[in-house]
Symmetry: none
Subunit: 362 residues, 2 copies
């Protein structure tokens, strides 16, 4: 076994979830990820945990959803809920061989099923959970990389000293947490200002996403002013939205455009009241993620980027008495900050062309 697989497993089991003797641990993964599943199961065994492994089948999921009526999909998967309720930790691994394998399920059917299984998702999120990536052929292709090169990319981003990462990121948290106003400027297409007064800056390292590597907070929903051009594609249900441009007034999107699939962007913004406002501002700091790969789990952590999510805000980032965006959607979109760009906190430049004020080269 490639030793990097064991290292990856150790990051998941020791750093992210902290599995101990007696823990009930569910592992959920695609069949292609079996080597990582095996390494995780072995380590959980060494630590004295109990393992339940389920490899997924996207083909059967697709056949099922195509065959089932809406009223069938409106029923909860009680088996999955019971399983997650009994789990102390859940290790979720992505890595299908064809990213479009379930792409022809009608979106309404997926939405019905998602609504019916909200309690399943909540049971999962109530555990010590972590979401990570297996370097599958499908994701390598999406990244336009050979599989061995993609393996290097994934494991470089994941297998490292996460205490050191947390310490490095703490420098930004210390600046962002007390800040009241954030301004993001990139070229002549993005200039947006928002209040984060009273909200919390979170340090994401070896937590629920692996790779981690971002500092994030919540904008005050009504405070966002200006315009943003998101440079990188937004992928929703297997469809790509390109060149998303949003104009904000009093926190609300009052103008929007996209060069591809604008209708999908429109329907997203119309989901509910909160879908027209931001819920998250994140600053990517994982410098081992050195390219966009069309996978938000990595793209949003990339160094020299900022992401903003329309929709739901994370509870832990919203300060007492401050409003939280309660939308049912949460869609991250990315701005490249590597050139001709700056981030200001209360009028002070904290990042310029990708270098932070506490780094060499600023």
């Amino acid at each position: 076994m490639d030793p990097r697989i064991r290292d990856h497993a150790a990051v998941l089991v020791d750093d992210c979830t902290g599995i101990e003797a007696g823990d009930q641990v569910a592992i959920v993964a695609p069949p292609a990820a079996e080597p990582l599943v095996t390494a995780v199961a072995e380590l959980v065994g060494e630590h004295g945990g109990v393992v339940s492994t389920s490899l997924g089948s996207q083909r059967s999921q697709r056949a099922y959803k195509l065959a089932a009526a809406e009223e069938t999909l409106a029923m909860e998967n009680e088996m999955a809920r019971a399983k997650y309720e009994a789990a102390d930790a859940v290790v979720q691994i992505r890595g299908g061989e064809n990213l479009s394998e379930t792409g022809d399920i009608p979106p309404e059917k997926n939405a019905t099923s998602k609504r019916a299984n909200q309690a399943v998702q909540e049971a999962l999120l109530d555990s010590e959970w972590v979401l990570t990536q297996w370097p599958s052929t499908g994701y390598a292709q999406k990244a336009e990389m050979s599989t061995p090169a993609y393996e290097d990319f994934v494991w470089n981003a994941i297998n490292k000293d996460w205490d050191a990462v947390r310490e490095h990121q703490a420098q930004l948290v210390e600046l962002l947490d007390p800040a009241e106003e954030v301004r993001i400027v990139s070229g002549d297409t993005t200039d947006v200002t928002m209040s984060v007064a009273g909200n919390h800056a979170e340090n994401d390292a070896d937590d629920n996403n692996m790779p981690g590597g971002e500092v994030f907070t919540a904008p005050i929903p009504d405070s966002v002013e200006g315009e943003v051009l998101f440079d990188k594609p937004v992928i929703i249900q297997g469809r790509e939205i390109l060149d998303v441009r949003l104009v904000f007034e009093d926190g609300k999107v009052v103008e929007h455009a996209a060069s591809k699939n604008e209708d999908l962007l429109t329907s997203l913004l119309e989901t509910d009241e909160g879908a027209r406002r931001l819920g998250e501002l994140g600053i990517g700091m994982n410098r081992d993620i050195d390219r966009f790969t069309g996978n938000m789990l990595f793209d949003e952590k990339m160094g020299d980027t900022v992401h903003m999510a329309i929709g739901r805000g994370y509870e832990e980032t919203v300060g007492e008495g401050n409003e939280r965006n309660e939308s049912t959607v949460h869609e991250d979109m990315i701005v490249d900050m590597s050139e001709d760009s700056r981030i200001e906190f209360d009028g002070e430049v904290v990042q310029k062309d990708g270098a932070f004020v506490f780094e060499d080269g600023f």
Copy 2:
């Protein structure tokens, strides 16, 4: 998709489990069986059931059990129990690509894990369950057949008119059910007598095993006397036990031998009190199973055979007030009855050299 896969799925969903709208259906299978899993999921979707699919990972199971201490394996998999308790039906599909994939797990570890998960097994058996076979390369190799020839074999044994099968087998049930004593004689190596007084003869067609095709009952645990040489290999955890010979006194195995892996047989017999006594007597009647393939699911249903299981007896076969073998193990072993053999019920010969009293050629 090979139309025989859809036929197989229909036998499982319509005949064996009778899945209806609202049923929670768990599908458990090896990754190789994904085509059958997909056909089953699709049909359950059409019928309005909810599906939870788990493909297994023998490699991760092996790694886990090798790494885990005995005390870890003595803990129950609460996640699996919760899942099966929530399931109305469970479709279990076999068909690994390497039958020895978990063969190097120490037998004691498997025994500990099995004991710890008895309630998991009971929760599964409390559902409408069915166990069936995917014609995988590994099982084809075990059968010493090409994969296409093995596919023919599997689907010939499974895809047929199960009502007609049940009717044919009912003739034997009518003889066995009222019988008090059964004697099995084969060559000069097997001559064993047992009481089945008050116990029930079951007609297995499209029930819990697919293929089905046997009539079975439970011996009274203390009543078995004599000796048996099992002609066909017993495969436990990927290891083959050859030429098993058991001698019974007052129902208990007082002598045992095997020409290969006798230690495995010994440890099996020492699992618990019931492991030294029979729990089942079965008479194979599926004439489409025309050869031994080293797979008990098929071998025990083969025409012209008898099988006896040490360990647990099936509840439905044990008459009121009669003792049930409560062992945690259940291991079937086969005697070839095609030549120089006979079965007697209360002193009357009901089968001779493979032909039943109600068949031509008796």
